[in-house]
Structures are given as structure tokens and as C-alpha cells.
């Protein structure tokens, strides 16, 4: 490993480069642009096999699908509107079981236009069949990008790694970046089951009639669920090799004996842990649950982590307008089968980069001391 004090986008790009992708295709969009630019520089310096600067994000994800179908390891990065523009191909990639990897610099969706952090962009793709990981820290961003190739290529499901825009793309801190030699020991060569090959000419991307289509979709869902064990395994393997893991599917922080829990995804976890430390010092029984894998959603882990709690605040940076908050919905779905369920409240905030400081988390903990169910935009 090499320790560098560097902007996290640059570290993530270096980690991706060290995974030796065959094709990288990108279109710039704030706040993931620096990842693309760094990869372009690696290519210009002869350190990356391919960098295609496409004319749109729709083209960049299509390029990497073609590259993957031809047997290559492929990567792209985008955010917000770019991911929205890719929507059609996002579904196609999952349906065609192409194990491409994408780092998403999570950013709000227009309108109104906003370049700052929230999860609306990748949450909008949650039904597609992609594996979705959300990172707490820049280091986790670096490590999850590497893990994503291993997860994707062994599950044959495209994998998205969410890094909060600006918080985890533009901050500068000391980061440990596994070297290419080390990554080679961790990440086996990409061996696709099927590929475009004149020696074995198969047709990919068939069209399915009503009698078969549903079985394909059900298969994607089943394999996405089955990916849970792989995500846990890969994180453990990474920990064994590099000395740090990131919680597998979901992880508690001081939550075992907690009565009140703050559950969330992404960089807000850092502030949540600080709030918990502050309250614990005052003797309050509080804890954090971090969701790392949003798809597949870790139902069993969430049940285990939240059973017996008095009140859980699910905080998230996205919403399904006119109805519910997505992470909250997944949480209450996970708890439905429990005979005795904690109160679960929904807190929505941080949209468009709205600040969620430690103070806000403390206020949420104060609010949920009332044991009534609530849905609040903070």
C-alpha cells in the first residue's frame, strides 16, 4: 500500500487504475469529474490500457457494456444527471449480466439544478438489479472500488459504489491506496462465462416474449439477493489482505445495548458516530447502524441489529415523492416479521448538499426520545 495525502477522487482513480481495467469510458460531471480526469491522465501516461472520452454519459456506460461483453474489465464514473441519462443502459447492463463497475459521486437530481451531495441519483436506480454499496469515508471509497470488481465479476451483476459528492470526492486526507501488485493478488483475472467470440459465436441481448421475460427478471433478483454472502466474503478477504474492512453489508457502532439508534448510509455516518460518542459520554444508550450494501438490502442483518431497540431514526438523503423514504421503507420491511418491533421514524435531510452537522444528529436523537412514530424533513 502507498499512503498519500491526496484528494479522494484521485485516490479512487488510482485504485481503479490498479485494478487494470481493459476499458474505461467516462463523461465528466460534477462531482465525479476528477475521477475521470485522473484516469485520463493515467492513460496519457501509458498507465491505463484504454480511456474513451465519450460524447455523453449514455455513451460511456454503453461503451463499457460493449467492452464487458467482449470479455474486458470495464469501468465508468458519473453522478446525478449523468446517471439519470444512463438509466436505460443501467437496466440493460443488469439484464444482460455484464459485470461493469461504476463509482457514482452521489449528487442531487435536477430540477432545480444542484451540484451537491444527496442520494437521489443512485436511489433512482435501485430497482435495476445492480449491486449498490454506499461508502462512509474516502478510504472506504478507495477500497470499495477495488472490492466492486471482485463482487461484480463473481456475481455477474454490475456494481455501483456510491461516494458522497464533495464530501468523499473532493476532500483531502491521508489515504492508503493498494498497489497494482497487491491488487493482482486480491483480484483474479476477469474470466467471463460468455463473451463475444468468433470461435464461439453466441447472440447476446436477445428479445424475450411474455412466456420467458419474467423468469429473467426473477433470476436477476435472486442472484442479487445471493450476492449478500459474496459482499461479506469479499470485504473479509480485503480485510485479511489489507488490514481493514468496512462492515460487509451493515454494521453497528455502539448499537448492541443501545435503546435509540440512528440508521443511515454514506458520509453522514461519520457525524453520527461523533454524536453517539458525545451522548455516550453523558451515559445515553445510543448507537449507529450503517447500511453499506443497499442492494441487496441486508434484511437479516438489520433485523438482528435493530431487534429490541426502542426507537430507530432512519435518516436518508432521498425520497420517493408522494409516498415514503426508500431506506426507511426497506428498514420497516425488514422488521415486519418481528413480533415486537421498535418504533421506526423517517428523517429526510441533506438534499442538495444541505449540511447535516453533528448538531442535527443530536437533535434527531433528542426528537426520538418521544416514542411516537414520525416523518420529518430536517
Amino acid at each position: 500500500m502507498v499512503r498519500k495525502t491526496v484528494e479522494s477522487s484521485i485516490a479512487i482513480a488510482e485504485a481503479v487504475k490498479n485494478c487494470e481495467p481493459d476499458v474505461v469510458a467516462c463523461y465528466p460531471i460534477t462531482p465525479s469529474t476528477h475521477i475521470a480526469e485522473t484516469l485520463a491522465k493515467f492513460y496519457a501516461d501509458g498507465e491505463l490500457k484504454n480511456f474513451i472520452a465519450t460524447e455523453s454519459e449514455f455513451a460511456s456506460i454503453s461503451c463499457i457494456c460493449g467492452a464487458s461483453a467482449a470479455g474486458g474489465r470495464a469501468f465508468s464514473t458519473t453522478s446525478s444527471q449523468g446517471l439519470a441519462l444512463m438509466h436505460e443502459v443501467v437496466y440493460a447492463a443488469a439484464g444482460m449480466r455484464l459485470p461493469v463497475v461504476m463509482v457514482v459521486g452521489n449528487r442531487a437530481l435536477s430540477a432545480p439544478l444542484n451540484i451537491w451531495c444527496d442520494h437521489q441519483d443512485s436511489i433512482a436506480e435501485r430497482d435495476s438489479g445492480w449491486i449498490q454499496l454506499y461508502c462512509e469515508s474516502s478510504q472506504e471509497g478507495v477500497d470499495s472500488a477495488i472490492q466492486a470488481f471482485k463482487i461484480a465479476e463473481s456475481t455477474m451483476l454490475p456494481t455501483m459504489v456510491g461516494v458522497d459528492g464533495f464530501y468523499l470526492t473532493h476532500t483531502v486526507e491521508p489515504l492508503d491506496i493498494p498497489t497494482m501488485e497487491e491488487v493482482r493478488k486480491f483480484l483474479p483475472k476477469f474470466q467471463p462465462q460468455v463473451r463475444l467470440d468468433p470461435e464461439n459465436p453466441i447472440s447476446m441481448g436477445e428479445y424475450a416474449l411474455p412466456d420467458t421475460y419474467q423468469s429473467f427478471r426473477e433470476d436477476v433478483h435472486k442472484d442479487n439477493l445471493a450476492a449478500k454472502s459474496r459482499i461479506v466474503e469479499v470485504d473479509k478477504e480485503f480485510e485479511q489482505m489489507f488490514g481493514r474492512g468496512h462492515g460487509g453489508l451493515a454494521q453497528g457502532y455502539k448499537s448492541d445495548d443501545a435503546d435509540y439508534v440512528f440508521l443511515a448510509m454514506g458520509s453522514v455516518i461519520g457525524n453520527a458516530k461523533e454524536a453517539v460518542d458525545e451522548l455516550r459520554a453523558k451515559g445515553k444508550k445510543v448507537g449507529v447502524v450503517k447500511i453499506r450494501s443497499f442492494r441487496p438490502f441486508p434484511e437479516e442483518e438489520v433485523r438482528k441489529l435493530l431487534e429490541g431497540k426502542k426507537h430507530v431514526a432512519v435518516f436518508e438523503k432521498s425520497y420517493s415523492m408522494g409516498s415514503f423514504a426508500p431506506v426507511y421503507a426497506d428498514v420497516i420491511n425488514s422488521l415486519y416479521s418481528l413480533k415486537k418491533r421498535p418504533v421506526v421514524s423517517s428523517f429526510i435531510g441533506g438534499l442538495g448538499g444541505k449540511d447535516v452537522p453533528v448538531k442535527t444528529v443530536l437533535e434527531i436523537f433528542k426528537t426520538i426520545r418521544k416514542r411516537e412514530h414520525m416523518r420529518i424533513w430536517v
Binding site: D22, G66, L196
Partner: protein, 283 residues
């Protein structure tokens, strides 16, 4: 001889498109990967669990074949395969309209891909809606011949010229009515490097509405009337492939197809004048 595109596909009887595909692949050979946009071709040839393709084939979406091919060829080359050819088969819908931006990107990057557009002059897969390629006056379901409007009111998008303006190594127009010329152009294009584009006229029995036996005859007549010009633009240099010794009347071609049956004498004359002018301006 190897079969690269098998029978059993569900194209309409008399469809021009499988004729295009068979001849193109016979010239290109086995060492190829075909990228196909959503189109009649894709639907008739790749319904799960069967496939008419005897070569590796990928269909992704309607408008992204240029990018799929770009990624696939980059992936192959970096894996050490410097010989397998990337060929796109796309209809006019994907090429002229919804996939135009992606095509332009592919051309600007000069990706090492041979793009063959089989042009049946409308969105035929979805039931004959007008495209940027639909000729002036043609009736389609979204440019019908009604009381006020008489079919498409705009001229055909000059796609070959637009592609050539990107300054790629090779652009050509072709017709299955002139098969040897089409095959020669594919033969030349397949061995060049960089982005190459061939536009081939592919009559559609169902959409243009004519006797299914006349597909080749119509494809030839389009050229013989001067409506469809056969040429190449190789490294920026224009080369006419064929000048009809005696031009047939445009009316002969139009009257064979129901999509033009609503046109009156003045309108046909207008089209004839447009053709005359185009050829007169050619030096």
C-alpha cells in the same frame, strides 16, 4: 460456405434487409462481431431462445450501437486481438435520429468500426413511422397523407454527407439493386482502419407497400431514376460510382409503392425537378 445468417428468421417475405445482411457478412467473413441496434433486424433474428446469427452478436439498445461497438473494439484490441472486425448493423431510425449523437461521437473518435445502415426509410419495426430518412412526400403513420398534409413535408436527412463531414476514412452509399457495387464497397471498407460508414437502400415490402417480388427491382429503380445516388467519399474525395446513362422517370419508381400513391402530378413533378437539379449540380 459458412452460414453467417440463417433462415428461419421472421423478416417479412421479400424483405430487403436480410439480403443486405447476407451479402455484407459473406464479404466480411467469420472473424467479426456484429453489434445490432433495436430494429426489425434485431427482432426478427434474435428472439429468445433462438438466433439466426452464425457470428457473435450483441444487441443492446436502440440508440447506442456506436458506443457498444466502440467499447467492444477497444476491449478486444487491448486483450491482444487486433484482427476481429467490429460491424454495426442499424436501421435508419437508429442512425438518422435517436442514435445520431452516439454515431457522431463514434465518428469523431474515429473508432475502428464499420457501420452499415440498412435504410428502409421509416421506423418499420414499430409499424412504419416517419424517420429523418423518410423521403419527401412519403406517407407513414406519423406523416400520413391527409386533407391538409400530403405525406412527409421535409426532405430526407443527408446522412452520408453529414457522416462524411466528420472526415472519416470511408463513406459510401449502396443499393441491393446493384449488388456487386454494394459488395465491392463492403470489401473495400472491411479492410480499412478507423470509422467507416455504408448506407444501403433496403426496400420494405410492408411499409412501402408493393408486390414482394419487386424488392431488388425497386432498389435498382431508385438508382436508375437518380433518386438514390451511388457514391464513395474516401479520405474526403468524392467518387461517383454510377451515372445512369438514361435516367428513368421518378414517377416510375413512385407509382410502384403505395406510400406515394397520394401524390398528384405537380408533386411528382416537384420531386423530379429536385432530382434533376441535384444531378445538374454534379460536375
Amino acid at each position: 460456405m459458412e452460414e453467417y445468417f440463417s433462415p428461419g428468421h421472421t423478416a417479412c417475405a421479400g424483405c430487403g434487409m436480410p439480403i443486405v445482411i447476407r451479402h455484407a457478412l459473406d464479404v466480411i467473413g467469420k472473424d467479426v462481431i456484429v453489434v445490432n441496434a433495436t430494429s426489425c433486424l434485431e427482432i426478427v433474428s434474435s428472439a429468445y431462445p433462438k438466433s439466426a446469427w452464425g457470428v457473435p452478436y450483441i444487441h443492446s439498445l436502440f440508440e447506442n450501437s456506436g458506443a457498444i461497438a466502440a467499447g467492444a473494439v477497444a476491449s478486444l484490441r487491448v486483450q491482444g486481438n487486433d484482427h476481429t472486425k467490429l460491424v454495426i448493423f442499424a436501421g435508419d431510425g437508429s442512425t438518422y435520429d435517436i442514435g445520431f449523437g452516439v454515431l457522431s461521437g463514434m465518428l469523431e473518435r474515429n473508432d475502428d468500426v464499420l457501420y452499415i445502415c440498412y435504410d428502409n426509410e421509416a421506423y418499420m419495426n414499430t409499424g412504419n413511422q416517419r424517420s429523418g430518412s423518410t423521403p419527401f412526400g412519403a406517407a407513414t403513420t406519423t406523416s400520413p397523407a391527409g386533407k391538409v398534409k400530403h405525406g412527409k413535408t421535409q426532405w430526407k436527412k443527408p446522412i452520408a454527407e453529414i457522416v462524411a463531414a466528420h472526415k472519416i476514412p470511408y463513406v459510401a452509399t449502396a443499393s441491393i439493386g446493384y449488388m456487386a457495387d454494394f459488395e465491392n464497397k463492403v470489401r473495400k471498407a472491411k479492410d480499412l482502419k478507423g470509422a467507416r460508414f455504408i448506407l444501403v437502400l433496403s426496400p420494405c415490402v410492408t411499409g412501402w407497400n408493393y408486390d414482394s417480388a419487386k424488392t431488388i427491382e425497386l432498389a435498382k429503380l431508385a438508382v436508375d431514376t437518380g433518386l438514390w445516388m451511388l457514391y464513395e467519399i474516401e479520405d474526403g474525395k468524392f467518387k461517383l460510382s454510377h451515372r445512369p446513362q438514361q435516367f428513368k422517370a421518378v414517377a416510375d419508381y413512385l407509382r410502384m409503392q403505395s406510400r406515394f400513391k397520394h401524390l398528384n402530378e405537380d408533386e411528382i413533378k416537384f420531386i423530379q425537378e429536385h432530382v434533376n437539379k441535384t444531378w445538374a449540380e454534379m460536375k
